[in-house]
Symmetry: C2
Subunit: 227 residues, 2 copies
């Protein structure tokens, strides 16, 4: 489904470049549940952004369903993302001037879904993450964990085939975190591919395959059963 070939991502910082990804080779099959762990600053979010076509590599190739998408125009990448990917950002990236409901509707606006249907689907996802009574709150009127759950609802509303989640339980207590993992588990059983960056070994144990990133390189990539 996805193949990253010899991916480098370098940030030019004047005198000193930061090599965030230092030669990454990775294949992700349809329907896989993969976790990515690694130290703070090791390149996890950068890798997720490249996988989600949100950022382009400095060097290397990205093949999506066999098609080279490495050099596609922004507009085409945007369309692919909207149709196939769901993204939960490490800092949620909610629009501050829109309510929880409007934030979750947003991917459906892009996909030209009619208003009534959008409202309905967005409300369903918010109910699912336990925020049915917070639809009209603005992000600043929500707790950290609630904002995180709105971000999850938004990532799921377009029924993506691939979910890319960056620390999806980072601001959730055990109970809310487990509730979220149950949702992800169900979606995985229904066929969704999931790539999750996490620091939580509990979350990582949900994955069938665990990747370890160290200084921009994949140093471990193994099925969970081998441990």
């Amino acid at each position: 489904m996805i193949e990253l070939k010899d991916i480098y991502k370098v940030y030019g910082m004047g005198e000193v470049d930061v090599v965030a990804l230092d030669g990454v080779n990775l294949k992700i099959k349809r329907g896989e549940l993969v976790s990515i762990m690694g130290a703070s600053g090791s390149g996890k979010s950068t890798l997720l952004h490249i996988l989600g076509c949100l950022d382009s590599a400095t060097q290397g190739a990205y093949l999506l369903e066999g098609n080279d998408v490495t050099h596609l125009a922004d507009r085409e990448l945007s369309r692919i993302r909207n149709q196939h990917f769901g993204f939960v950002f490490q800092s949620y990236n909610l629009l501050p001037n829109m309510t929880a409901l409007e934030n979750v509707e947003e991917p459906l606006v892009y996909a030209n879904v009619a208003k009534r249907e959008r409202r309905k689907r967005a409300a369903i996802q918010l109910e699912r993450v336990g925020l049915g009574d917070r639809l009209n709150h603005f992000p600043s009127q929500l707790s950290g964990g609630q904002q995180q759950r709105v971000a999850v609802a938004r990532a799921l509303v377009n029924e993506p085939t691939l979910l890319l989640a960056d620390e999806p339980t980072g601001n959730l207590n055990t109970e809310a975190g487990d509730a979220l993992l149950t949702i992800l588990s169900e979606l995985h059983t229904e066929g969704m591919s999931i790539v999750m960056v996490t620091h939580d070994p509990h979350v990582a144990s949900l994955a069938e395959r665990q990747i370890l990133l160290e200084d921009g390189q994949v140093t471990k990539d193994a099925p969970l059963t081998e441990r």
Copy 2:
């Protein structure tokens, strides 16, 4: 040192009010290390904001070193905060147009410390949290965990007597999280009072006293040794 008496915090949301704190009574002694845990949305961040004089209660009294600060003017509260409190926000609240170094210098600017001394002290704190090589990065050029560590460095630079930290290890892997807890431990040994909101039982186990918040009420408040 701190006493909260019958604190209520209610957010008016039109037809339905949100009672974030529902009658909280709490005393914190000088030099204590307290952890606050609770479900997502239970009122932890709200409680921390009130303790840090960043927000005023709807009802109830706040006594700081025996003085009623409940109705102080913003400017006076600001001065008290800058002199005595260090705050690590759940969403870091870094200024996007300032570098890591400048962000950490900021409380010292408010305190009228000379530029050379500010730079020196800010650099020391950033070194301490392992970001000595990221001084001139802007927040958008830092990983999530790096931004979190800049927020910690900023909270400590003015040598506060009380540190209020909201999920200080939420975006840190075990290694970086433990490094942070070691720093907090040392500061505590040197006399700092610390109130930490956390979902991580590992972090909570550092505390000598654990508070549980449920739906805006303190339902447990016990020394760690009693468990």
